[in-house]
Amino acid sequence: MKKFLAQRLDGRYSAFWASVLAIILTLITASLLLLVMGKDPVVAFQSFLQGCGFLPKANYGGGSGMLSDLFDFLNYLAPLLLASLAFIAGFKTGLFNIGISGQMLFSGFLATVFIGYNKSMSAAIAKPLVILIGLASGCLLGALIGFLKYRFNIHEVVSTIMINYIISYLTGFFINNNYVDMMTRTSRICTAAARLTWTNVKIGGVNCKVPLGIVIAVLIAFVVQFLFDKTSFGFELKAVGLNSRCAKYFGVNVGKSVVLSMAISGALAGLAGVCYYLGYTNTIIPKTLAGMGYDSISVALLGSASPIGAILASVIVSIFQQGANYMSSRVGVAKEIASLITGIMLLYAACGNYMRIVAHSYLQKELDKTSSREGKER
């Protein structure tokens, strides 16, 4: 058993197996927690899946069904996947963009104000413009962070957090002053033309919300994978991330790489923002940063910073986040447990490297043992 695990963790697909192990450990931890609270873990995990439309619920409200839940799940998945791709784009270059939630809010706010409230625009113009604004605003913000990093040596973790709060207060101020819906205390909703999700689409007899974002997100996952695996630009970015001094030595412009990488990361975060605020929620709660920005880090690390891995990991994290409401109503555990499970998963994913090192030295020791035994026999 020990040896089997060690070989998996030391082999070619070690990153994959480390993630699998992280998920298993998370499920065990969460089950223990649920048991301590006197809840049945099997029922809980089942209802997470039911809440996301992977398993049928006992009963459905009028006009909705399993498929509507599944589409709601995809509505959540799309921005999460994009946000984690944003994180990965920076991470591969050795940059830690933890300001994704701020960049999401920034682009979501701008797109809402400029396009979402423009009642005269047709969908064919509004939707592309929303996407464009999302990309452009996030891109600018990311580039700024990259510039501050290489020009002034400001650690991106500190600068992105500062910018997060600045954006949060600034957009909160404008929403409260100009765009607030007095009933909900959140921003007024966007026009259907601008929204990146088609609502009330009849599929198989039930009402579904069909997100445009999921198609974009999966496409972009493959683009990012291609960028880092197959292009010389991606080769340079990876070199900067792993050893920036060596990258400089073989002729890469490190400053430019840092700015470009953060610009890409920001652009993807901006895209996630419009998918979230003009797709999933369709409104902005003032002075509140989306927790999704941080969940994206869990997704990225769980997917071992690979875009394709992120697709799988984002599905897993989305199941917990999106299924939490139903699980909470059925099992009676606070829905905050979804974030806790995501957090625990992140913790185990962060230990992945250590597990792999332990596995490697364990196998090495086994090897030494057998070779010294053979030596003695000889």
Partner: protein, 319 residues
């Protein structure tokens, strides 16, 4: 004007104790971006204890505050072990570890706050209501023109923190432990060769870091917020880290920076009131500490010298 000094001090001083915590960790060679999480967990543990004690000791009993502060220090100190474990034992990337600790802290405290509320009074509220600590005014000193505000309406914890900061300055600069701690952040091999225990020194430093941050978080819960809720995560931990950077990892200069942050915040707020702006505008002034931090970072970041070995895991067996 007096109010600027009073409020500035009550914001800057908790920030300082968190920054001193961060300095301990970083001077020992462990990057600490986890201050935000430490202070939140500290505030959570302290508040939980306070909530449990209120029915026993009576609402308004000021002793609860001191017990809560101690509990916050212990709780955050223990939580900090997780950061130490990841960074020192597991050799995880210390930046990643810090961020993980912060995210996990938000999730843990949010979940257990509502779980605890459900257990105690049956409502799944995400808040522990604490109220504000009593204040006192130093007779005499508070009458001094201009700076009298510094001694007016003080929180008792401000005095506690000032004493603690002096003690931890002494511990870092004048004792055997402090000498080894600083050496661990510059050249751990030197400490090892001289017979010091690098890992142990760093473990203790990270735990001190957690405990001090926890005290800072608890103070915010008892002053600014008057409760414990997820709004404890306002990025103050990151402000403390920024203060440490400007203070060049030096406790004295960091104290100065924290006071500047405090006065900038309270000054902005008072200015907002003085100008007669509607309450909405206060959001713009709440932005000030973050904007100020960004500006300071732009002007001062390049000149700083972080400890040389910070962020590098250390392994005795490494050749």
């Amino acid at each position: 004007m007096e109010k600027v000094f009073t409020d500035g001090l009550s914001f800057g001083i908790p920030l300082l104790i968190m920054a001193v915590g961060a300095i301990y960790s970083e001077k020992s060679g462990v990057t600490n971006l986890a201050v935000e999480g430490f202070q939140g967990v500290g505030a959570f543990v302290g508040s939980l204890i306070a909530i449990l004690l209120i029915p026993v000791m009576g609402n308004g009993n000021q002793w609860i505050i001191y017990i809560a502060l101690a509990a916050a220090a212990v709780g955050a100190g223990i939580y900090a072990c997780l950061h130490a474990l990841l960074c020192i034992k597991f050799h995880a990337d210390q930046v990643i570890s810090g961020v993980v600790i912060n995210i996990l802290a938000v999730a843990l405290t949010s979940f257990f706050t509502s779980a605890a509320n459900t257990a105690i009074n049956g409502t799944a509220s995400n808040k522990f209501i604490l109220g504000v600590s009593n204040r006192f005014t130093v007779p005499g000193l508070s009458k001094i023109p201009w700076i009298g505000g510094l001694f007016t309406n003080m929180y008792p914890f401000e005095i506690i923190i000032i004493v603690l900061v002096i003690f931890f300055w002494y511990l870092m600069n004048k004792t055997r432990y402090g000498m080894r701690l600083r050496a661990c952040g510059e050249n751990p091999q030197a400490v090892d060769a001289a017979g010091g225990d690098v890992k142990k020194t760093r473990w203790i430093a990270v735990m001190i870091s957690g405990a001090l941050s926890g005290i800072g978080g608890m103070c915010f819960a008892y002053s600014l917020l008057a409760n414990f809720s997820p709004s404890i995560y306002q990025g103050y931990g990151y402000l403390a880290i920024a203060a440490m950077i400007f203070g060049n990892w030096n406790i004295g200069s960091t104290a100065l920076v924290c006071l500047i942050f405090g006065f900038a915040k309270s000054g902005g707020y008072q200015l907002c009131i003085a100008m007669g702006l509607p309450s909405n505008y206060s959001d713009l002034f709440l932005m000030l500490p973050y904007v100020l931090t960004m500006l300071l970072l732009i002007f001062f970041s390049k000149k700083n010298h972080p400890p040389k070995a910070v962020g590098q895991p250390w392994d005795k067996g490494k050749r």
